[in-house]
Each structure stands twice: as C-alpha cells, then as structure tokens.
Subunit: 160 residues, 2 copies
Amino acid sequence: MSFRPDPVQPANDDARTTVRALLALGHAALAWQDPDTGAPGISRIAFARDPEAGLLTLVSGLAPHFRALRDRPDCALMLGEVGDKGDPLTHPRLMIRARAGFVAPDAPERPALRDRWLQRNPKAAIYIDLPDFAFVRLTPVSALLNGGFARAFHVAPEDL
Amino acid sequence: MSFRPDPVQPANDDARTTVRALLALGHAALAWQDPDTGAPGISRIAFARDPEAGLLTLVSGLAPHFRALRDRPDCALMLGEVGDKGDPLTHPRLMIRARAGFVAPDAPERPALRDRWLQRNPKAAIYIDLPDFAFVRLTPVSALLNGGFARAFHVAPEDL
C-alpha cells in the first residue's frame, strides 16, 4: 500500500484571516445539480455572511438554481476575486460544500434577516419583497481555502 | 394550462459581442460532481478558447476536479468578472454546460495546443509538462449569457 501525504494543511491564523476577508464579499459562484438530470449547473449569486443566520443568499424564482436548490439541496460555493495581475490561480479563493435550506416567507427570523440584508444591499429593496424571491441558508459541510499553488488549507465549518 | 413565456431570449449581435469578450478571459469557475457521492463541487480553473481545440483547461492531478472530470464528464463553467461598482448581479457572465474530455499525453494535436497555451500563459512552462498535468477539452452542450436583470440570452454551442 502506498502512502501519499495529504497536500492540504489544517488552517492556521493567516489562513483564517484570509477566510474572513473572503466571507465579506457580496457575491459568489454557486455549483448546483440540475433537478431533472443531476448534471452540474453554475450561477453567480448574491452572498452575505449574516451574523445570526450564517451564510445566506437571496434567490429569484426565475433563476435556474431556485428549483435546483429546493429539490437537491447539496451545493458548493466559491468566494474570491481574481486581481488584475499575475496567474489567476495564485489568487486566494474559498470553496465551501453546503446544504441549502429555504427561509419561509413567514419565518420569525426573516424580518431581522431582511433588514440586515438591506443595510448591506440597499438596491435590493426593489425586489426583496417580491413573492417569488426567497432567502436561502447555505449551511457549510466542509471548506477548503486555496491560497495559490501548494497553499491549500482545510477550514472547519465552525470557522466560517 | 397556463402559459409562461421563456424569459430568456435568443442571442443578438450585442450578446454575441459580449460572449466573445468573456471567452477571452483566462480563468473560469467550474462546477463538477464528486465522483464518489455525486455532490456538487466547485473550482477555479485556467481557461482558454483554443482556435483548434475549442474550450480548454489545464488540470493538475492534485486538483479535486481532476478525478471528478475523468469519472463524471458532465460539468458547467462560468466566465465573467465582477467589477468594482454596482450590484454584482448586473455584471455579465456566461454559463456553459459542457462535457469534459482528456487530451492524451501522446495525442497528435497536443504539441500545437501546448505551444498556443504557453503563448497565452508563459508562466505555465514551470508545470505544463509534469506527468500529472493534463489538458481537458470542455465541449459545450448549451450556454446562457446573463447580462443583468431581465437580460438573459440563449447562446448556441456553435457561437462559442
């Protein structure tokens, strides 16, 4: 039996600082499964780390991932911008495997969650209360920070 | 039976111009399926639209999507940068459903493909010939351009 060391290290303080910066971004890429075929789909989503509800997005009923997340809640998100310079693969990004859970329109926590979302995204006032929009919690299962070649770290869900 | 019109329009000339600009980007987000569980995974990938081979990436054997693409070739990619200003969801992005196919190390087309990749990414010379790196073709199945709210277009695979 051959032994191959895990190339991914446990997160250290530097890695956790990078994770916090990435979680402050307002958008992410979301990987989901087609509810009919199971094939992978991908979307850009609005994102926030809410202090009470955790990782959160707001989804339109017209978006293809709306029904996907409702029918097949396993998903994955990636946070991170590519800067102007250098190899795009050297810029840090955080990949999170998660399970989606819709927040009901009459959930007791929704009003506070809605207010905090609008503080961060005032322009969302135009559509936030439309009947086909819903908040979706993205509960993390596992996470990986990639800070460039040979700089990968496991991040515990409780550190998100 | 209720009739709901498709909110996505066929691509026009403006849309095709945006598509060409997005295909010139050097990186993408890739959605794939975990080969063991089928759960969605996501990665940042190096990307190029090669004039002969079409949509292309170069993957390390250490990347989690290497085995995923080999075992389950259905995938989806997203191209597009989020600018500094405004709502991130108003910036254009192109979503492509694709099937992955590995280019064999001894494939007759590989030397020309490798040369063109290095012209665009000279720094890849450090790793391009390592034995666990492989070129992967991403053959498009369907595509959607989202240019912001209510500006979505179907893009034919032959327009990619």
